[in-house]
């Protein structure tokens, strides 16, 4: 199953700050195959957010080529990029980024509405996605009525609801306590076992060790790229002292 999903060749990204320009990414090459679970690590300023934005079709490389699922991204216009984000990608953010004062099911329905799925059908699919992340009993809750872990699971359901080829997670556990972190990672591992490709940006080693592969960035270059421990989050969770579900 070594079909390439993400192909990055010689990608650089320059930002102009006043007169000078800063290179956030310097000639990065990266290939991610289907079914991988890869952690992108690095200190702040290493270029991992910039790489994430480019992989997520939110930003375009200054030079270099990026093919996502066989599509040359740099040739696409704004609307086509939006469609790619909608159909091919799923986003999970650090701050959960749910739309406030909007119920869980409405949040999850949103990507489907943008894909012109009829509202009734979209709602049904959203409920299925929420059940999949274990939130079947929180459908009509608003973000401020849920814990951080639950909010992040709503965000994951929203990322999954369009059946994307790859889920991009930007510091998905940054705002979570250690137990919830492991729970979320267990969820990601479950998805990965079912064949979902995951790219997770993190600076936590605890997160990276649940992935299959770890990419280290420094100063906009790839410092290292090696397989990871891929410990089982479910097993760790079982070993953790029982706790009230957050």
């Amino acid at each position: 199953m070594a079909r390439p999903l993400i192909e990055v060749e010689g990608v650089s990204r320059a930002f102009h700050v006043g007169e000078s320009s800063v290179l956030a990414l310097r000639h990065v090459d990266l290939r991610v195959d289907e079914g991988e679970m890869i952690a992108v690590m690095g200190a702040s300023g290493s270029g991992k957010s910039t790489l994430m934005n480019i992989l997520g079709c939110l930003d375009r490389p200054t030079t270099g080529r990026y093919r996502l699922s066989g599509i040359a991204v740099e040739t696409l216009d704004d609307d086509a990029l939006a469609e790619l984000r909608n159909h091919v990608l799923g986003f999970v953010f650090q701050g959960f980024n749910l739309i406030p004062r909007t119920t869980a099911v409405e949040n999850v329905t949103l990507p489907l509405l943008y894909a012109h799925v009829p509202p009734r059908e979209a709602r049904e699919q959203a409920i299925v996605a929420l059940r999949r992340v274990g939130l079947g009993d929180r459908l009509e809750h608003q973000p401020n009525e849920m814990s951080g872990g639950q909010q992040q699971r709503v965000a994951i359901a929203r990322a999954l609801v369009t059946n994307p080829r790859v889920v991009l997670a930007d510091e998905p556990t940054g705002n979570l306590d250690s137990r919830t972190t492991v729970e979320v990672m267990a969820l990601f591992q479950d998805l990965n076992h079912l064949g979902m490709t995951l790219v997770i940006v993190t600076h936590e080693d605890d997160v990276a060790r649940y992935c299959r592969r770890v990419l280290m960035l420094r100063d906009g270059r790839i410092l290292s790229d090696h397989p990871a421990a891929h410990g089982s989050a479910r097993d760790d969770l079982a070993r953790m002292p029982a706790e009230e579900d957050a």
């Binding site: 934005n53 997520g56 939110l58 930003d59 704004d78 609307d79 939006a82 469609e83 984000r85 909608n86 159909h87 986003f91 953010f93 980024n97 749910l98 739309i99 406030p100 004062r101 909007t102 949103l110 990507p111 509405l113 943008y114 894909a115 012109h116 009829p118 509202p119 929203r158 369009t162």
Partner: protein, 405 residues
């Protein structure tokens, strides 16, 4: 995304900021309500002025002595005076679309009586003059058919004449002298005020035309024959008929020019209409400006909303919203706001029109077309003023927007 889903979303986001939405809507409500009231007032004023024009004379037609042209030199109006009492009688008997006819015999004479003397036109008229001009006695009475038939020396004074000769007293029952002939004052007319061209309608003495013809010496002429058409709609027919009958009465052959002119009050009505139109335009402009202010309020709130929801816009863009989805979302939100304002404003406009109608006594009815216009216009205002904030939202860079706190 379907429009219905967008509208639901817009309503949802309105409910999230109830107070703010209510205040924004209020601006539109006031704007639309004032437009509705002003249009109603304008229409009310128009029908009021139409009634006043009517008051100058009921569907009045004026036959005037024509001009004569001899050898290419026009003698001007009245220079060739052939109007006679017989013409008036002929018109009265023959015309079907005309209900009342009176000759108006004019002369000028010093009026002596009461406090001193005065000079005003003396007009000899028939009793239906009062009907045609819708003129009633303020005190005393009008003269009667009997008095006309018997050439009684009675007069009815115009308000100005009465004031001039008897400043502090009711002149009814008093006597005046016109060219040394004594007349009894039987009544004083209602004040009619000035005409559009500034002449005082109340500076007049009215007497039976028979009396004026026989008892008053001096140059006399029938300057006018006044007639009343059966209805407003019958005025054009009455005009045509009067013209034909006058030619017949004067025995004019086909080739000859008219030696008279026949006019109605369209000139007057047109002037009055123009005045009301100007007023309606003025009021509507003011109302329109308040709606404009309401629109600016919407724009303001939409701009605030866009900057507050920058992050939400980023999220929506990240999960696949296109620029036009964002644009549409905010335009729909703005149109929903203004549309609700339009509906509420129309309701308030109904109430306001009723109140203004009660105060002024005008028939301020809200036409159904006004409602459609008001709601449609307010939605257009919403779309117009919502477009700029919505465009700003749609042009946000998704990465910047996501980073926004």
């Amino acid at each position: 995304m379907k429009i219905l889903a967008l509208v639901r979303m817009a309503l949802g986001s309105m409910l999230r900021n109830k107070v703010r939405a209510a205040l924004t809507v209020l601006g539109v409500v006031i704007g639309v309500a004032s437009v509705v009231v002003m249009i109603a007032v304008g229409l009310g004023a128009r029908s009021d002025i139409e009634a006043k024009v009517e008051n100058l004379g009921v569907h009045m037609i004026v036959v005037s002595a024509g001009s004569s042209t001899r050898g290419g030199v026009s003698g001007g109006a009245g220079s060739f005076n052939r109007l006679t009492v017989d013409d008036a009688v002929f018109l009265d008997e023959e015309a079907e679309s005309i209900t009342a006819v009176t000759p108006v015999i004019s002369t000028m004479a010093p009026i002596v009586g009461g406090a001193g003397n005065w000079r005003a036109p003396i007009q000899g008229v028939d009793t239906c003059y009062f009907t045609i001009r819708a003129w009633e006695a303020a005190s005393g009475r009008l003269f009667t058919d009997d008095e006309v038939r018997n050439r009684r020396k009675v007069v009815v004074l115009g308000h100005t004449v009465a004031e001039a000769l008897w400043p502090d007293q009711d002149p009814v029952g008093q006597r005046i002298r016109l060219r040394n002939v004594q007349f009894e004052v039987v009544g004083v007319l209602d004040a009619k005020g000035q005409t559009a061209d500034g002449s005082d309608q109340d500076d007049v003495v009215l007497s039976p035309y028979t009396t004026v013809q026989t008892r008053l010496a001096g140059r006399q002429f029938i300057g006018q024959i006044l007639a009343s058409a059966a209805s407003k709609e019958a005025v054009p027919d009455a005009l045509a008929e009067a013209k034909t009958l006058m030619r017949e009465s004067h025995r004019l052959s086909a080739g000859e020019d008219d030696d008279f002119t026949v006019r109605d009050q369209t000139q007057m009505a047109a002037t009055a209409q123009a005045t009301t139109n100007t007023m309606t335009l003025l009021l509507s402009t003011i109302a329109g400006i308040s709606l404009l202010v309401g629109g600016i309020g919407i724009m303001n709130i939409m701009l605030v909303s866009v900057s507050e929801r920058t992050r939400e816009i980023g999220i929506r863009r990240a999960i696949g919203a296109k620029r036009r989805d964002i644009l549409l979302q905010f335009v729909v939100e703005s149109v929903v706001l203004s549309g609700i304002g339009g509906l509420l404003g129309t309701g308030l406009g109904f109430v306001g029109s009723a109140v203004v109608g009660r105060i002024t006594g005008w028939a301020t009815e809200v036409a159904p077309a006004t409602v459609l216009l008001a709601v449609g216009f307010s939605m257009a205002v919403g779309a117009f003023f919502g477009f700029y904030p919505a465009r700003r939202a749609s042009l946000l860079d998704p990465i910047e927007a996501l980073r926004h706190e």
